[in-house]
């Protein structure tokens, strides 16, 4: 961002428009297909939740059994929605920040189709009973090498753009974006190699899987969310990032601590004693980067309260950042050895933490980024602020409910599991009311995302509003139900400052 002063605002705007145009097809493809996978994942999640409450639900079909549907639900959430939303946002952010048009949009788009095809094959494989049974790596083994190749084809151009950037300070968004682009293949490649292709001790494979699970959250989803939040907050408010050095503390503490976390999930297993303890300590310490990132982005967003109240981008991003802070603090709270770790280890708490990370923290920031990026790519404004509000409120209700019910209910559940003087059934009974509430909350989330997907699809078809005015959430534009109308031809540079 620091080099943009060299040019006039008009030249800047022309360059931005050119970058947006070059990336229109791949980024819109990632967003739209990601949103479609999110809807698929939510349907599977609702079926899986319903089966936790009423096991006889849909028990006639083998491919809809709990083990397969739940595995499909998480896999599609992570690889269908999460990764694709991240790819779209990251390649757009890095192109904008390195001030270069994308020169390989065709290849990225093709690789994106390959990715989608193999996510679909993987989901069919899971439902057909060929899942691997490794959490978050459930797709059949043959899918993983293809996904890694598709990833390389998507990400390599962004790395090249970063490599040939003009000199100057690297903005913190680029730190996070490039780091997550490097950490993702490291974490995924290591796990796939050590678990599926190098025959090793099965126990260490379980430890690697636990490390991978944590790595995907803390080394991919969290830095992606941080990258987008650090871009959007100053971009929308027009104010600089509050206490910039704090953002670098956030980055380096995440980079140093993130890779150690994860193996506390194997506490009590016969693996070297120090691994679970280091994992637990690192997970507690990951509170530091989440506080640092969360505080500096939130302060930046709150620097302009009027925009904060009206911008959909800021509303979603702020919600995601708050979830990030909660994730950091909750991670410390549920991973304390010899107090909370043993009651969270095997209970539904783990699921709540996953949803808090992937849906609460990561997805909300991605929604914020999508609400910012899509009007620039499609040259249309969002159709309806009501749809945006509905998406926000129902998603927020849903994710608060799912995460808090599963995390807190999981602790109750875990206490029941620990109480060996009672039967296992009694532990399951303790979790039951929480599972019923989780099912209802997922329905809220699905409802909200149905509207989000339809809204995005209309934008992709360029059926958005032809206006020079952004779609804002406040009550400022009472003359029209959807926001102020405007003639696109009047929209010269500097005609409106908002959004």
């Amino acid at each position: 961002m620091s080099q943009e002063t060299q040019q006039t605002p008009e030249q800047d705007a022309i360059l931005r428009t050119a970058i947006d145009r070059s990336l229109r097809h791949p980024v819109m493809f990632f967003f739209t297909s990601g949103a479609a996978w999110l809807a698929v994942s939510l349907v599977l999640g609702i079926i899986a939740s319903a089966k936790m409450v009423a096991p006889e639900f849909l028990d006639g079909c083998a491919f809809l059994t709990q083990g397969r549907v739940f595995a499909g639900h998480m896999s599609v959430l992570v690889y269908g929605w999460g990764c694709q939303a991240a790819f779209g946002v990251l390649i757009w952010l890095v192109s904008r920040l390195t001030r270069q048009e994308s020169r390989a949009s065709g290849i990225i788009l093709t690789a994106g189709h390959l990715w989608n095809l193999f996510v679909a094959i993987g989901l069919i494989g899971i439902l057909a009973g060929y899942g691997t049974g490794v959490p978050w790596l459930e797709f059949p083994v043959m899918v993983w090498p293809v996904l890694l190749v598709a990833y390389a084809l998507i990400a390599i151009w962004t790395m090249i753009q970063f490599r040939v950037r003009s000199t100057g300070a690297v903005y913190v968004t680029q730190w996070f974006a490039i780091a997550s682009l490097i950490w993702f293949p490291w974490v995924l490649g290591t796990a796939v190699l050590l678990i599926f292709f190098v025959g090793g001790n099965a126990l260490m494979a379980a430890a690697v899987a636990a490390w991978f699970h944590s790595g995907m959250i803390y080394l991919f989803f969290l830095p992606c969310a941080a990258a987008a939040a650090y871009y959007l907050a100053p971009k929308v408010t027009g104010h600089p990032v509050h206490s910039y050095s704090l953002s670098l503390i956030g980055f380096w503490s995440l980079a140093i601590l993130g890779p150690w976390a994860g193996m506390q999930k194997l506490a009590g297993a016969p693996i070297p004693y120090f691994l679970p303890y280091l994992g637990a300590a690192a997970t507690v310490l990951l509170g530091v980067p989440t506080i640092a990132i969360g505080y500096s982005t939130l302060r930046t967003m709150l620097s302009d309260t009027a925009k904060f109240a009206s911008s959909p981008t800021l509303r979603f991003t702020a919600a995601g950042v708050v979830c990030m802070i909660i994730l950091g603090l909750a991670g410390a709270f549920v991973n304390l050895p010899s107090s909370t770790l043993q009651i969270s280890q095997f209970s539904i708490t783990a699921y709540g933490m996953d949803i808090l990370a992937v849906y609460g923290c990561f997805s909300f920031v991605m929604f914020g980024a999508i609400y910012f990026i899509v009007p620039r790519l499609t040259r249309r404004e969002w159709l309806s602020k009501r749809l945006i509000k509905m998406h926000f409120l129902f998603s927020m209700y849903g994710v608060i409910a799912v995460a808090s019910l599963a995390v807190l209910g999981g602790l109750i559940h875990g206490q029941g599991q620990e109480d060996f003087t009672h039967t296992w059934d009694s532990a399951a009974e303790r979790a039951y009311p929480y599972l019923v509430a989780t099912l209802i909350a997922w329905c809220f989330v699905l409802f909200s995302n149905f509207f989000f997907f339809m809204h995005l699809l209309l934008m992709w078809m360029r059926l958005g509003r032809r206006s020079s005015h952004p779609t804002l959430l406040g009550h400022a534009h009472l003359e029209s139900p959807h926001g102020e109308e405007g003639d696109i031809d009047n929209a010269g540079p500097g005609s409106v400052i908002a959004h």
Partner: protein
């Protein structure tokens, strides 16, 4: 550096040469959304707030406590598999509330079952009836249900040639099964086979008896080779050691005898 926005053109002359009016108002070159973006918010160097600093310090202290709580045993490799592991009591459970004691024969049969599945199932089958051609049945076998020393030597060393019925089975030789077994394991599996599948000897092979069986096995003249029907005649007696009442109550986890409550 701070806060320059697209409208903030006051430093430039009105008709800057770089502004081409046709370009600037051509929506195909500049989208409205791109035009209204802020370019360069600059850098803020506010100091770290005390609240953030304190909150981070709290996280560091908790993290340190997690590591410190290991009492210097973080890299101790003896700590992750504890000998004679006995599970701690659940919170709020008093000393009186222990697992309900069970009869020793029931506990031993249950533990022996898993050893049988690992060691014997492959040949003698899940129902211990063998297959009639290659592997003999253990149900009602005189050597299984007879004197315990003879049975123990077959398990410890394997068997060559005819079995208790005089028949020579297709497999010809049973390999020794004693390798890797502790006296406790041998006691479990012997008690299990003698009291299951319709065998009703009703006695318990104690770990002391099993230890004696291992000592006898080690002192054999032809130690290491499978026993034969001829050699087994020497072992036609019960293993030495104090016999236990099969109804004796023991703790199913610690395996210690529980004193009857007064």
């Amino acid at each position: 550096m701070s806060h320059s926005s697209p409208t903030n053109n006051s430093t430039r002359p009105d008709l800057d040469e770089s502004i081409n009016v046709t370009i600037a108002h051509n929506p195909s070159l500049i989208t409205p959304a791109a035009a209204r973006e802020f370019s360069n918010p600059g850098v803020d160097k506010s100091p770290l707030s005390l609240a953030t600093f304190s909150l981070c310090a709290v996280m560091l202290i908790i993290g340190g406590a997690v590591l410190g709580n290991t009492e210097g045993s973080l890299f101790s490799y003896t700590n992750f598999v504890k000998p004679n592991y006995v599970r701690g009591k659940a919170p709020g459970v008093t000393d009186d509330a222990v697992m309900p004691p069970k009869a020793i024969v029931d506990v031993y049969v249950k533990k022996g079952q898993s050893l049988y599945s690992a060691k014997c199932n492959g040949c003698h089958g899940a129902d211990a009836k063998g297959d009639g051609a290659n592997f003999p049945s253990l149900v009602g076998s005189a050597w299984v249900t007879g004197p315990s020393e003879r049975f123990s030597q077959v398990i410890m060393n394997g068997l060559q040639g005819p079995t208790s019925t005089g028949k020579v089975y297709g497999a010809g030789i049973m390999p020794a099964q004693g390798g890797g077994m502790s006296p406790q394991d041998l006691a479990f599996v012997m008690t299990f086979v003698r009291n299951s599948f319709g065998n009703t000897v009703g006695d318990v092979i104690t770990p002391e008896m099993a230890q004696a069986a291992m000592d006898i096995s080690a002192k054999r003249a032809k130690a290491g080779s499978a026993v034969t029907a001829e050699e087994l005649k020497e072992h036609e007696k019960d293993l030495p050691g104090e016999k236990m009442d099969p109804a004796t109550l023991i703790d199913p986890i610690t395996l210690k005898v529980v004193e009857a409550k007064k």
